[in-house]
Amino acid sequence: MISLYFDPGLGAMIIQTIIAAVAGVILFSKNLMHKIKLFLGISKANKDDVFDDIEIKDSDIENNNSSER
């Protein structure tokens, strides 16, 4: 049992399954809408993007990282 130093809230843990399910539906429909729009040739022009997307680029990690800082 991992020791936590704050109370994560029992309700919050249990509810995450429900939230995940709803999130899944939302993402699926967003994806679908995006694909339909692409297909129909209507896509929103990218406004100047101050915020990038969720991916962090994983560069190729060589094996000598412990001493190098």
Partner: protein, 460 residues
């Protein structure tokens, strides 16, 4: 735990604590966290985060079986969440989600999602808590989820529906805004949105239910990794599109003053020549709006704090900073008449703005077009504002709008019958009071305006 001089905010996490030695920020890693630390190090996870400028880099100083000591790169000025503009707050929220997703993909998970884990450095939001990562246990829900809602999602939603000032609530609700409060403050229509309903309202309902039924039993909940990633991605995409509704009165500030373009350029030129003689490394611009004047400086500054009371101005500064990829700029929301207080345990967990700025000791303070607001709207006597600036400024470049200035006239007219009380507002009194704390090195009237620029140096 032998906390040698532990920092006053570093006491909750048994994995380790932060202490300051010779001006360096060091962190002790306790044995209970050794496994995680080694894994984070050897897998190259830390390295990747350093490379991507997501986590503040550190160097390992010593490694015994009692403790590991690491030294973090020093951040010149730490801003707290209640000092961020809306978009800065948004950036911090997105960073947390981004980091959790990345952690999951590499077998780790964030133990906590506190807004105080993040600050702004070199033009971006950066994560500071090196020990916040734990091993991901398959099919376990995200333990920091609720904290993410109360620290990030909730305040952002409140700001969206009720204005950016809501972000200041975090200075009172130091551990996030309670879910029940969020649920009651958000408008009814948010219950119709499935994402908002599940993440806020349903959460509040369930919190209630479980608080009453608590018999000391722990129910294990399961959530697939894909499920957790779905939550994170849906929140990310929703937050990314969140915007403020309000406009501010400072929007077109530079059109409303009584400057001709010429006067503006002259002001910039005078300030530039003064700054060039001083050669500062650090600077604070009080009432700096969107950073226009600081950007006009020829000299490269290492760190420039640009503060303003108006969220929209700071947001605009933030946007410009990100588009230009500026590393020296640090935007900040600040009410000069009520800067952030010291809060938390012993009222020293999160330091006051004034203590932080004193420690930062900026070489130059710019106070352009601010003193008339402090004196006339804020009713602050010159002696008090001089004392305020004197407490942290080495060199002070301050602009004094004379009584004849249009803004001053407008503010005086607003006083109606109290107008006579403000007879003190004139340049002679101003100089007299400021001479108590400063020597006046130079004084220049700006051509074609009713404003005078002063270069002052703090008396020893």
């Amino acid at each position: 735990m032998n906390a040698k001089n532990a920092h006053s905010s570093s006491f909750r996490d048994p994995s380790g604590y932060v202490f300051i030695e010779d001006g360096d920020i060091k962190r002790v890693v306790n044995p209970v966290y050794f496994k995680q630390y080694q894994a984070l190090k050897e897998s190259g996870f830390y390295c990747e985060l350093f490379k991507n400028e997501i986590l503040i880099p550190h160097k390992e100083l010593s490694n015994t079986d009692k403790e590991i000591i690491i030294k973090a790169e020093k951040i010149p000025f730490v801003t707290y969440p209640y000092e961020w503009s809306f978009n800065m707050y948004k950036e911090a929220a997105l960073l947390t989600l981004k980091l959790q997703k990345y952690s999951l993909e590499h077998g780790f998970s964030l133990k906590d999602a506190s807004a105080f884990n993040i600050t702004f450095y070199k033009g971006k939001a950066i994560f500071m808590d090196t020990l916040s990562f734990d091993f991901y246990i398959d099919n376990s829900p995200w333990r920091a989820y609720k904290q993410f809602i109360t620290h990030f999602f909730g305040p952002l939603l409140l700001a969206h529906y009720h204005g950016a000032n809501q972000l200041k609530l975090l200075s009172n609700f130091i551990d996030g805004i309670p879910v029940k409060m969020l649920s009651s403050m958000l408008p009814f229509k948010t219950k119709l949105n499935p994402l908002l309903y599940t993440n806020i309202h349903l959460l509040a309902k369930l919190e209630d239910k479980h608080n009453e039924d608590y018999k000391g039993e722990t129910k294990e909940a399961t959530l697939s990794k894909k499920g957790q990633l779905n939550i994170i991605e849906s929140l990310y995409s929703y937050i990314k599109n969140l915007e403020l509704k309000e406009k501010s009165e400072w929007g077109n500030y530079y059109n409303k003053t009584n400057y001709t373009d010429d006067a503006f350029i002259k002001k910039s030129r005078i300030i530039n020549s003064w700054v060039n003689t001083i050669s500062p490394k650090s600077l604070i611009d009080i009432g700096g709006n969107d950073g226009t004047f600081v950007r006009k400086l020829d000299r490269a500054i290492e760190t420039a704090l640009v503060c303003d009371i108006d969220n929209n101005a700071v947001d605009f500064n933030h946007k410009t900073m990100k588009m230009n990829k500026e590393q020296y700029m640090l935007p900040l929301v600040l009410d000069v008449l009520n800067p952030s207080a010291a809060i938390g345990l012993n009222n020293s967990e999160r330091d006051s703005f004034l203590n932080r700025i004193k420690a930062f000791a900026p070489d130059v303070t710019l106070a352009l077009a601010v003193i008339h607001h402090m004196s006339l709207s804020g009713n602050v006597p010159f002696s008090q504002s001089a004392k305020f600036f004197g407490s942290f400024s080495k060199y002070l470049i301050i602009e004094f709008p004379k009584r004849s200035d249009s803004w001053v006239q407008r503010l005086l007219n607003n006083k109606v019958d109290f107008r006579d009380y403000f007879e003190f507002y004139n340049i002679e009194n101003f100089k007299k009071c400021y001479l108590e704390y400063f020597n006046i090195l130079d004084e220049v009237s700006i051509f074609d305006s009713h404003r005078v620029l002063f270069l002052m140096e703090k008396k020893c």
